[in-house]
Point group: C2
């Protein structure tokens, strides 16, 4: 019961620290210590008793815990660990590791070990590992596989990355509609080994192998043995197409609260299943991608080198440089005004910055609402009106604030008035751009999360500087 991997924290542990998961933190520290100790043992004498004991302890860790430790190591330590003890990198550990880390350690592992891992894993996990292999290694591993495993994996790899055809599980339980509960259960008892490790639903198929309904194991288990499964099955069936994008499949799971769903081919025949545990991973990945995309980062991972960081963030910064220059051109048009009234140079970044932030807020809300299918062409007009009104209200509030500050600071009513008007104008443009830009990008079939930011901040910078300096030129000079 007091399992080492996931100890139930005692009350004392729970109160010992303000952290919400003391047991988890404690566990991670213990594991980190164990890995460190093992690395030291290898360094001093890799055949020592201490090193052997650590090996056994590390083998006993939950794969998710051990993979966390491997990810935390420096590149050198990771290479030492893997090359001295490849046996620790079991199939389950490989399945837990991040793609970048898998890519890094694959060359250190023998083909025979990888082949064994790949044929042990469910095809979706195996595919993810094979994706990371160099062509040569992949060939070597495929040569070691039996024909059936190889065929299944090659079939998966034929589909595009992030499509369901590649991600789906090709092992599932299907039954013809004329079976009874008893026959179905007996069939599962007999097939035993060939069934997937874990499944929740049995799919009922017609003679053409098209899914027509499903029955959950919990329902099957509670039903009488002589009942016909077609009488018990749920016929409201959401199917997923094998060439669907993973994000769309995840949306269907979330919307219809699916636990698993049959994947169908072009002819509507069942080809595999997707289960909610894989969807949870997809949702997490897609969400992280969206968060990073909104900040202009195309890719990330803790194992990145400084150079790959430059590559992941440079393009967006380059675009930002161009839009910043555009804003500078606007400023340059008013250089005479600035040289006459330096207060303009002092206040203009406030107008631009407030507009930029308000626009980013509106845009982020819109991007989330579009992703969750809450903001649609149908509700767009209502949302735009509401955002416009809100932006106007926000604009008035902060226009007052800035006008007061400008007056107190520079004792100039006209300057305060210019700041007031420019703030309201920029806020209204910010609010409208915040909704219209993502909607427009969506309409053109692109991902609003990826490119909205640059357009919105360009609008707020250009409008902010132009309105403030333009009015200043008109009124103050």
């Amino acid at each position: 019961m007091t399992d080492q991997q996931t100890p139930i924290p005692t009350e004392k542990e729970q109160r010992a620290t303000a952290n919400e998961m003391p047991a988890q933190v404690l566990l991670e520290e213990q594991n980190a210590h164990l890995v460190e100790h093992f690395l030291e043992a290898i360094a001093s004498d890799e055949t020592s008793e201490a090193s052997r004991q650590d090996f056994v302890s590390l083998s006993g860790l939950h794969p998710a815990d051990f993979s966390d430790q491997i990810e935390q190591l420096s590149d050198e330590d990771r290479e030492t660990l893997v090359s001295h003890a490849p046996g620790l990198i079991t199939a389950d550990v490989l399945a837990e590791l991040e793609d970048e880390v898998v890519e890094e350690i694959l060359p250190l592992l023998p083909a025979a070990q990888l082949a064994a891992a790949v044929s042990y894993l469910d095809n979706d996990d195996a595919t993810q590992i094979i994706e990371e292999m160099e062509d040569e290694q992949r060939e070597a591993v495929f040569d070691e596989l039996d024909t059936e495993d190889r065929a299944i994996l090659e079939a998966s790899l034929e589909y595009g990355e992030e499509t369901i055809g590649r991600l789906m599980q090709r092992e599932f339980v299907a039954a013809p509609e004329f079976w009874t509960v008893g026959v179905t259960i007996d069939h599962m008892r007999e097939t035993g080994e060939d069934l997937p490790d874990l499944f929740f639903n049995i799919y009922i198929v017609d003679p053409a192998f098209k899914p027509i309904g499903f029955i959950s194991l919990s329902k099957l288990m509670r039903s009488k043995r002589d009942a016909q499964i077609s009488d018990l099955m749920e016929t409201k069936l959401t199917t997923i197409n094998q060439d669907m994008d993973q994000e769309d499949a995840a949306y269907l799971f979330q919307k219809y609260h699916l636990i698993s769903a049959p994947v169908v081919d072009e002819a509507g025949r069942i080809a595999g299943i997707m289960t909610i545990d894989d969807i949870l991973e997809i949702v997490q990945t897609e969400n992280t991608e969206d968060i990073l995309a909104l900040a202009g980062v195309s890719d990330s991972g803790l194992t990145d080198t400084a150079f790959s960081i430059v590559k992941a963030r440079g393009p967006w910064l380059f675009i930002n440089l161009l839009t910043a220059i555009l804003a500078s051109f606007v400023i340059a048009q008013f250089d005479y005004a600035i040289s006459e009234i330096v207060a303009l140079a002092v206040l203009m970044p406030i107008v631009a910055s407030m507009g930029g932030n308000a626009g980013t807020q509106a845009m982020t809300v819109a991007v989330c609402a579009i992703a969750e299918r809450d903001l649609t062409p149908k509700s767009a007009w209502r949302v735009v009106r509401r955002e416009g009104l809100a932006a106007f209200l926000i604009g008035i509030i902060f226009a007052f604030a800035l006008a007061i500050i400008a007056f107190v600071w520079f004792k100039d009513v006209q300057l305060a008035g210019v700041a007031f008007v420019a703030m309201i104008i920029n806020h209204v443009f910010a609010g409208l751009a915040g909704v219209l830009v993502p909607l427009g990008i969506k309409r053109f079939g692109a991902d609003p999360a990826v490119s909205s930011s640059v357009f919105v901040t360009t609008v707020t910078d250009v409008v902010g500087f132009f309105a403030f300096l333009g009015f200043a030129t008109l009124i103050l000079l």
Copy 2:
């Protein structure tokens, strides 16, 4: 098979449009049309045959589809629909609706209908609806409930919002370790009605009702009837504490790939279970919260009014106003330099903007890495060094770019040199602040997603203006 709710798209439909989910889009259009038609029928004559037929069609929609349509309606249309046809708002539809919409329509529904809905739903869904009720209505609904349902719901409400105690399912299947597979299955057949609708695991408990292992239904089903469940059970058990935050529970599910987990009370006794479908919802909610928090939005929803938008975004904009003023003070210190060389006012926003964006990139990556427990105190030093190096490289690249632009534009080598140095300095500060600020906020026990942005952009604005204008004063004047 061609179920109206979720038709399998024909090939023709698939090719008809570039959109990835034509079937889904088509379905939503049909449903929207149906709702519109119903509203028109109500408006002209609510007792008409047309209105009755629409009512029947709407009743047949999948609750998730119908709730989507209700969410898309304007406030007035929604009120008309619900008050004329409260019968359409079934328990399942209520469970699907967003909290804000539930709050809005609850006053339109009779207590008896709500009581029936609440006792029909699983306790976690029921709790979410009761949370949205005004005290008076809640009392009226509780009076209609039977004692047991009422006791379960009151127990859930005793836990804090977003804690597992409130969210967990209080119905689950537990078995003592001495039972055989056959006894366990027979027990489930007999209890039938009282079991949860859907479950995946059976928990094995000791005499003190503490969970000591679990067995999945798919394994139970494949095993021989006379096998002892304690021989088959999985003992690597991850338990969740009932006062745990939902985010931490979601982390454990993701890390250990859990499908369901027992929730234990202070004494370690099983009190309920959490299942992955609820976790998926939590992950989605928390992710949206994080995305919005990063943009400085405290709350959002499409049903918000313009005033609630002002409330949700105003605080962050106010803080931004303060930091923008701080940056302006820095600029004001160099007003003489600006009045002498207006080019400084033209170029300074570029330096600040590039630093701000680079800092936001680094910060967003760090916030994601902290949330996924990839960036920990242990790996912090390595990440900080790498970010610093990357920032330096990025700084050099864009410093060159800006220097060239400055030279071409203003034909001034010294000005170009000042821009060059200021860009590098600001990028290095941006990169370091991007990692150190979220790490520092995390160490103080706060959520890095909520407050990092303001500190990072303050650093990049202040450093950007100070470095650029300061060097300009030293060198150019």
